[in-house]
């Protein structure tokens, strides 16, 4: 057995030990002259060491285990392997359909808190799918993506505060305005690549946030904007009492008792529809000339230009379309919270959305959705260790980069059927 295997296995086992320390909330305390481990009873410590041993053994014999697994006949796989691409796509669409139907029924059975959280997950799905266009497909490292999210949210907040504009008007307006900001950011950064681009976009994100923070007369500064209205359903409001003349409330119309969860579920469903739309729109774009030109620019800019692709056009379209979906997400977010302030749009948000894209697998839509769910829900589940949240998050990122740099579900290229030429 190669020594490199042994080294690697040892390294992995130690990482397991180190990571379990914050995750399980251990604490080192001094007891007299010796150091003790607080918060650990003998069983957990044994479990941790067993886990480390398991990791060690697995890594040590990984090659054998993997090849052993490979020899086991897999009854399910051959069928998927031999499936024609058309069937695979049809299967995929069928699965998506079931998942979406399930996701649409689920809120009626779930608790209020989890539906609310799920709405947030869907907002992150939209954001990450949008950023995936810029970073994953076009290969442009954008660290200020949260700015477009802020533009969408503030568009709705301001329009409703000053002009009483409703959610349904603000939704496209916010998205279009965010797209316009994307275009505006695109111009100055056209010639920049890599690190330089990252720094300038980072600056752009901060400019927007600081502007919102300091333009007190318009945005209320750090105090934010409150009283952002809920969406209405064909003019029906979801509040206990109707706010606007001439409107009717949802529960009155259907003659049911007022229930505050109606509103939560409605918002969730809107977010679901928008997230599904985002998914399909971008999936379609990826198979269109625009989407292909994004990837071509990422792969080789010089070759792309030599084939007549204008760098300007391609980059601007990626920034604009990515920003558009962030605007969508922002509007939904404003409506969900009812109150927004610049604090919701700090750099950390950009970093998290970027982390989702990287974790999911650059360019892969399914991967990005999976990662968005994981990154939003797991910290909620690990509430008790909230102080260690960022640490866990960081550790997870490092481990992913070590073991699976291509992401959770790397992008799979769609096979294109060609008719045989005569």
């Amino acid at each position: 057995m190669a020594t490199s295997n042994l080294k690697h296995a040892l390294f992995c086992a130690i990482i397991t030990l180190v990571v379990s320390y914050p995750i399980l909330g251990f604490n080192l305390v001094s007891q007299g002259t010796s150091v003790g481990l607080e918060g650990a009873n003998p069983t957990t410590v044994t479990a941790v060491f067993l886990a480390a041993l398991a990791v060690f053994l697995f890594q040590l014999f990984r090659d054998q285990i993997m090849s052993g697994l490979g020899r086991v006949p897999k009854p399910a796989l051959p069928t998927t392997r031999n499936m024609s691409d058309a069937t695979r796509v049809r299967m995929q669409n069928l699965i998506i359909l079931f998942v979406v139907i399930g996701a649409a029924i689920w809120p009626f059975l779930a608790s209020r808190g989890s539906v609310d959280l799920a709405t947030l997950v869907l907002i992150y799905v939209m954001l990450a799918l949008g950023l995936n266009v810029v970073v994953g497909l076009a290969g442009l490292l954008d660290l200020g993506y949260v700015a477009f999210y802020a533009v969408g949210a503030y568009t709705f907040a301001l329009l409703s505060q000053y002009f009483g504009i409703s959610f349904w008007v603000a939704l496209p307006t916010g998205a279009l305005l965010a797209a316009l900001f994307g275009l505006a950011l695109g111009f100055p950064v056209l010639r920049l690549r890599g690190d330089y681009l990252a720094i300038v976009t980072l600056g752009f994100g901060e400019i927007i946030r600081i502007l919102l923070n300091n333009w007190t007369s318009l945005t209320g500064g750090p105090n934010g904007i409150g009283g952002i209205p809920d969406p209405t359903l064909f003019g029906m409001e979801f509040g206990r009492r109707v706010k606007e003349e001439g409107n009717i409330s949802f529960h009155d119309f259907f003659g049911i008792a007022y229930d505050s969860t109606h509103k939560i579920i409605f918002l969730y469903l809107i977010a679901l529809v928008l997230a599904v739309m985002t998914f399909f729109a971008i999936r379609r774009l990826m198979q269109m000339p625009v989407g292909r030109s994004w990837e071509a620019l990422r792969e080789d800019e010089i070759a792309a230009r030599s084939l007549g692709l204008s760098r300007t056009g391609v980059k601007l379209s990626a920034f604009t379309i990515g920003a558009f979906f962030a605007g969508f997400a922002g509007t939904v977010f404003a409506s969900k919270q009812g109150f927004i302030s610049p604090e919701s749009f700090v750099f950390l948000e950009s970093a998290i959305i970027l982390a989702i894209v990287v974790l999911g697998g650059m360019g892969s839509q399914f991967g990005v959705i999976l990662a968005a769910i994981a990154v939003t829900i797991l910290p909620e589940l690990a509430r008790e260790f909230s102080e260690y949240r960022m640490l866990i998050f960081g550790a997870a990122m490092v481990l992913m980069m070590v073991w699976r740099p291509q992401g959770l579900l790397p992008m799979r290229r769609i096979h294109i059927h060609l008719d045989k030429p005569e």
């Binding site: 030109s293 071509a296 010089i302 290229r413």
Partner: protein, 251 residues
């Protein structure tokens, strides 16, 4: 159809190309030869708009194109390959050809998003064109492989196919035979001749492989240290004393 007049390109203190002139007529294969560092690729970079020449003129038809941005030049029908293959490695073979046809498919976003019949028709046409050229260069069975995973010779052919789907008038090939084995070189030979004969494309060729150059060129330009040394038919070049001394002799 293409005329380069007294082209010069200076990089700081280095005059990489010095007063080079050449012309290409329709239905012609013109070669540029010369030792390494002679400035051949630099001439290409000027012709394809990657560099703005510091002196001289480049006429395509009767339009001056020196200094025109690269992507606009390729839209005029002047397309090139690179000395070091440049494919879109993580895209499939057929996607490489579809990217190149973006202009044939330049409908608006909404038509594409909703797959209107007009869009589908154009899309099918570009798929057919891609299939045709893949078959032509023997890559049809590999259509859905990642371009980066192809063998070297296949990558070279894919790069040429990618140029051809743009339906160019003039094709510029920078050392297309570099790294190919003799059998592949022979195939490439046939392909280049057929581009001229069957598809009516003029070719400018930079090549080291003398047998290839002598066999398929209509005319040859020799440059040495940035300066034009000789020009003429393959026979004239073969018997040119300057060339023999400066280039063929040393090999």
């Amino acid at each position: 159809m293409l005329e380069v007049r007294e082209l010069s390109m200076r990089f700081g203190g280095l005059l990489a190309v010095d007063q080079v002139s050449l012309d290409v007529q329709e239905h012609e294969i013109v070669s540029i030869i010369g030792p390494n560092g002679a400035g051949k690729t630099t001439v290409f970079n000027c012709m394809s708009g990657f560099y703005k020449p510091t002196g001289g003129k480049i006429l395509f038809g009767d339009k001056e194109i020196q200094g025109t941005p690269d992507y606009k030049i390729s839209r005029l029908g002047l397309v090139r390959t690179f000395q070091h293959v440049r494919l879109f490695n993580r895209m499939t073979v057929v996607e490489n050809l579809l990217v190149a046809q973006h202009r044939h498919l330049n409908t608006n976003l909404l038509a594409g998003l909703f797959k209107t019949p007009g869009y589908r028709k154009k899309e099918q046409k570009s798929l057919d064109r891609a299939a045709y050229w893949l078959k032509r260069v023997g890559l049809l069975d590999l259509a859905n492989r990642d371009a980066g995973n192809l063998a070297y010779g296949q990558q070279r052919r894919l790069e040429i196919a990618r140029c051809m789907v743009t339906e160019p008038k003039l094709l510029m090939l920078d050392e297309p035979a570099a790294g190919l084995n003799p059998a592949e070189t022979r195939e490439l030979n046939q392909l280049i001749i057929s581009l001229k004969e069957d598809y009516n494309v003029s070719v400018v060729l930079i090549e080291h492989d003398m047998s290839l150059v002598m066999e398929i060129s209509d005319r040859i330009n020799v440059i040495n240290q940035g300066r034009p040394l000789a020009k003429g038919t393959p026979d004239e070049i073969r018997h040119n004393d300057d060339v023999i001394k400066a280039y063929l002799g040393e090999a």
